[in-house]
Symmetry: C2
Subunit: 236 residues, 2 copies
DNA sequence: CGGTCGTTTGATTACGATCAAACGAAGTGG
DNA sequence: CCACTTCGTTTGATCGTAATCAAACGACCG
């Protein structure tokens, strides 16, 4: 779980020990469970140990916008270590296990061990980059392109986490949740998915997705993995 | 210019001195000048001293999505201090002055003075929060709501920076750029602006905007300033 | 004085939303 | 074990918001 952070900055032995020594409380949570709600003043931030989680916001009209998907190993809400009040919801997508780490411990760690602080910072910067790409996705791409794009992103991220191979994976969300991630209705998402299947770009049964033609899919989704910053490591 | 950072974390005298001692190169830049391009490997990050800047991405189809607006005093591209390659463009909206600070100096400062590192981290976390709100804005709100929302955001941010008063300000961008920020066409933005004027929510002449009825505007824009995190200060 | 850029207005089109309904799978309870 | 509910998926028909295409206007600039 801290393999991710280590990729983000060069950490010493002590740094790693300090991370592992973080006080925390483990909890089993089931699908749909709320971890944090918009407006809360949480006194912890949460590290996802297994399962999937997502962040989202609800508009005044009742619309939901999914903001991000989180995999096992993600520090889902590092923001909450430093910002006073949460500006969005965090909810479980599947059953899973979460470690709750006190805010103060995170802050203290960042101050006491700057290398760890920088690693966590980089982690949130990559999150930020993904948000930017999502702004582009929902703001300036048509339905088909949006969906192809997000399917590409999921494929790479799941593969990177060892949860997928050969562009074949289990979609960790319903079509309705997917729709809320790309700013469309579930009805339209369903139609586009069918069409992508007919065109031979993907095949699927239930939630299982196979990207049959990565090159065409990349093209169709206007996808460039640069924003995932897989190559970045802030050497200390 | 470092007033902003000081609001984000308690800094000591030494910390402030270290910030002011950052090596940098001043440059006058004119409207439209590119500061960083998508795909660059910059060796600096830039602090905006005067004028306005914005970040944006271009899709494969040629569409532009504006990602953020930056005011004098903003560390526009702190990401570039730590991420290897830029995932978006940064461009000047108006003439202005920019200080270029070497990447390595930023990294070194974050490691040597953790309190400053945390302050910069918090700054990027707030940026992140704004990106999330923009995802919601373009993903799940209709044209009218989007535009009201962004006009509210600009009003507060400009006022906070001392560049506006009583919900009256000079819009730092053209309607076309505004359209690219909210994921609409400039034609439609223009129509909505006219309509908002007719309804008495705003009045305007050229770029000058007055929000005539803040309460109704907030309502119309589904606007809640929480995501700007003005109250947040990570005490050391 | 033309030329460019940004704004404004009109007419038409189209993409995706909405409304509606059926279906299958999984889970619940009698 | 089967009726029944619930949830997610699928398909069809219609509607509406914002895009597109087109053109005129005003301001500023060289």
């Amino acid at each position: 779980m801290l393999r991710k952070l280590e990729r983000r900055a060069r950490l010493g032995e002590d740094d790693r020990d300090a991370l592992l020594a973080l006080p925390h409380q483990l909890r089993q949570v089931s699908a749909g469970a709320h971890i944090i709600r918009d407006g809360d003043r949480p006194d912890f931030c949460c590290l996802l140990l297994s399962g999937f989680a997502f962040r989202h916001k609800i508009t005044g009209e009742g619309g939901r916008q999914v903001l991000s998907l989180h995999l096992a190993g993600d520090f889902v809400d590092l923001q909450n270590g430093l910002l006073e009040v949460s500006d969005h919801n965090v909810q479980m997508l599947t059953d899973g296990e979460v470690a709750f780490v006190p805010r103060e411990a995170i802050k203290a760690l960042a101050l006491a061990r700057p290398a760890v602080g920088v690693a966590m910072w980089v982690d949130t910067l990559v999150d930020s980059s993904i948000f930017r790409e999502w702004v582009v996705n929902v703001g300036r791409r048509d339905a088909r392109t949006r969906i192809c794009h997000i399917l590409c992103e999921f494929s790479l991220r799941l593969e990177e986490a060892g949860l997928a191979k050969h562009h074949r994976y289990e979609l960790p969300m319903t079509q309705e949740q997917l729709a809320d991630a790309v700013g469309l209705t579930s009805v339209h998402v369903n139609r586009v998915l069918r069409q992508l299947g007919e065109e031979g770009l993907i095949s699927r049964q239930k939630r299982s997705i196979v990207i049959e033609d990565w090159a065409r899919m990349r093209e169709a989704g206007d996808f460039n993995a640069r924003y995932l910053h897989y190559d970045t490591c802030a050497a200390a």
